[in-house]
Symmetry: D3
Subunit: 147 residues, 6 copies
Amino acid sequence: MSLNKDRRIGRHAILLLLSDHPAEQLKKLEQSKWKGCIGKVGSMDAHKVVAAIETAAKKNGIVRSDVYREMHALYHAIIEALHGITRGQVQIGSILRTVGLSFAVLRGNPYDNELEGDWVAVALYGTIGAPVKGSEHETIGLGINHI
Amino acid sequence: MSLNKDRRIGRHAILLLLSDHPAEQLKKLEQSKWKGCIGKVGSMDAHKVVAAIETAAKKNGIVRSDVYREMHALYHAIIEALHGITRGQVQIGSILRTVGLSFAVLRGNPYDNELEGDWVAVALYGTIGAPVKGSEHETIGLGINHI
Amino acid sequence: MSLNKDRRIGRHAILLLLSDHPAEQLKKLEQSKWKGCIGKVGSMDAHKVVAAIETAAKKNGIVRSDVYREMHALYHAIIEALHGITRGQVQIGSILRTVGLSFAVLRGNPYDNELEGDWVAVALYGTIGAPVKGSEHETIGLGINHI
Amino acid sequence: MSLNKDRRIGRHAILLLLSDHPAEQLKKLEQSKWKGCIGKVGSMDAHKVVAAIETAAKKNGIVRSDVYREMHALYHAIIEALHGITRGQVQIGSILRTVGLSFAVLRGNPYDNELEGDWVAVALYGTIGAPVKGSEHETIGLGINHI
Amino acid sequence: MSLNKDRRIGRHAILLLLSDHPAEQLKKLEQSKWKGCIGKVGSMDAHKVVAAIETAAKKNGIVRSDVYREMHALYHAIIEALHGITRGQVQIGSILRTVGLSFAVLRGNPYDNELEGDWVAVALYGTIGAPVKGSEHETIGLGINHI
Amino acid sequence: MSLNKDRRIGRHAILLLLSDHPAEQLKKLEQSKWKGCIGKVGSMDAHKVVAAIETAAKKNGIVRSDVYREMHALYHAIIEALHGITRGQVQIGSILRTVGLSFAVLRGNPYDNELEGDWVAVALYGTIGAPVKGSEHETIGLGINHI
């Protein structure tokens, strides 16, 4: 039931996000049986961040949009990642702040046991701050769920 | 007032945490005017996680323990990082889960403008789960504050 | 000071909500000195859920709209019920989800002691999920307050 | 992808909990391909509530304790149900209150589509209040997750 | 239904708390049909803060301990006041901080309309910080409820 | 490192807010090396409350808008004060309530030790309630941060 050291899905997702060459990095992961995608979203609306990640994950075949359990797993992973981004209230513009984020979604089995099946990791990295250029600091979030 | 691309304190702190050679990595950072330290803590008590990070930061001279504003800055950065770890309620054992975490604390000025002075980043990475070996997944948190 | 087994206001409110014949069920309750009303509301705005319940309770004479203490008691019971519905952040559309709810409001004294006076129960039952048909699961909430 | 009207897992779990004859009710559900169990727990410690439900679900074969994804699904369903019980902070004794709860765990597929696989519902019903006999009111919670 | 300018219960409670002569101040309030009490509590346990205030309010006849609706009203006012004190998570020692608080409880009708009946205000003022002398700043909280 | 009894910044900020002659009171404070400002804001949008306080603090020279660390310190003090106002969810209109607030921002060193430098206190006092005249009660909040 242990996490496989080489298949730590959260670590892979974050390193992908922080990579200088994310597209190449993603290709390598895809060769090791991971499915994944990356993207960017900037917004004062939390629901737009959720939508951007859901859309990218569906378009890239990470999750099946016609199977609710897959969308449900992804949704909760996104909201958990947003907790790390927002640190207290999952609110952005409604408390006068804005985010500029890169995101990575990764799917695969991080455990030794095949019965564990697929899991999904949503990693977010970027800035949060006042809606004034430069008035911002970095922020990160990671959500992981069984799928 | 912009974030300096080479001095993104949060990114540095997380990469340090995920590095295969954190001690060497930390040395390099220290040569570029950053102060930093790394450590590990596993617990079911959130207050022990806070204490472990505070103690390491004080011992390594990252913050001055006799200046409350420095401890106050660090404390809030730790609690913000714990939001990413716990994703909802800053509780561990009280809702029957446990964490095994590595932490990195980094101090320096991530902005172009010298007036911005020092900031502190607290990065946490590890696992969270049931108090049963293997019943856990990864988790990450980042807190950033002016000091 | 004990709860009267036959007058458990929360249990009555939920059974009313889940009943196949809520109108008849409500009539029976009204014959036993309870005041109550039922209704439906679907929305992505939490404030519209609050408004729908408040309006129904006022129109049906469950609370007096000209006595703030009654509206205050009802409001907090509604918000408490919404905690069960939303499980973490009292937000709906702002984190890209929608609800379709039935509600029941019940008023009366659930205790043996007459001094306990009236209490109000707000029960909510329905679905929560993505704004896509079928991408949803059930949800329930109950708020109880002295009035 | 729709919820099947006859297989609303949350509704079944709550009615089971509020039933005057829960054991018989549970038997009927088990004849319709549901797995389920019921139990009771009273405590000032949230972690004991979590443990009691997890133990009952494992003992009764509702979840497999050697497959983390099953325990992970159950854990989050429990915590979500506790949000309805605690309405704000998932804390009991630490803010001087106590709970006396019945719980029901139900597992099965509530959707028309077989691809949706199994889901788990955790329903909680009982009282919450001061640690003084009678100083309490009812409370309810429901958590639902894909498994 | 308006708040009476001279009978703003929250303002009275806070001024009582910040007064240099609280005992005299309290006497004056008691001559204007208010019931009230003041006290002090220092702790790392939120439940001890709750208990200290409840005990003082009962002993001084502000609330009747044999009428649950009165204790229920007071409890929620205390928890609301603790939100102002803790600003995010109603936790003290569990996230390694401590409080030293003065409290005031006041009961009476702050509205022009007699039908509004009695309300209760719980005001808290003091310091919060690390369990190290001097590593603390001020904090305040106010909870108001109909009784 | 102790708080100086005469320089309790939070106490000063709240007394300023509750004063019958706030302008005169503010002048006295300014003669004792405090910087401060007062203002009013009524809204159903939390972000408008934040904006009103930020704008007043910038216009009155309490904080420098071109130094992010100052804006960052102020922002977090405002959000902390809003926790006292909203007591649970930092939401106003989105859960159908409205606020009418006075605010005071004060800057200076409340500690004996000069090394503690400047801190900022944001105090809020007013009413919260339904968007119906008179259906409201008082509310207070205080946020304190190093600057």
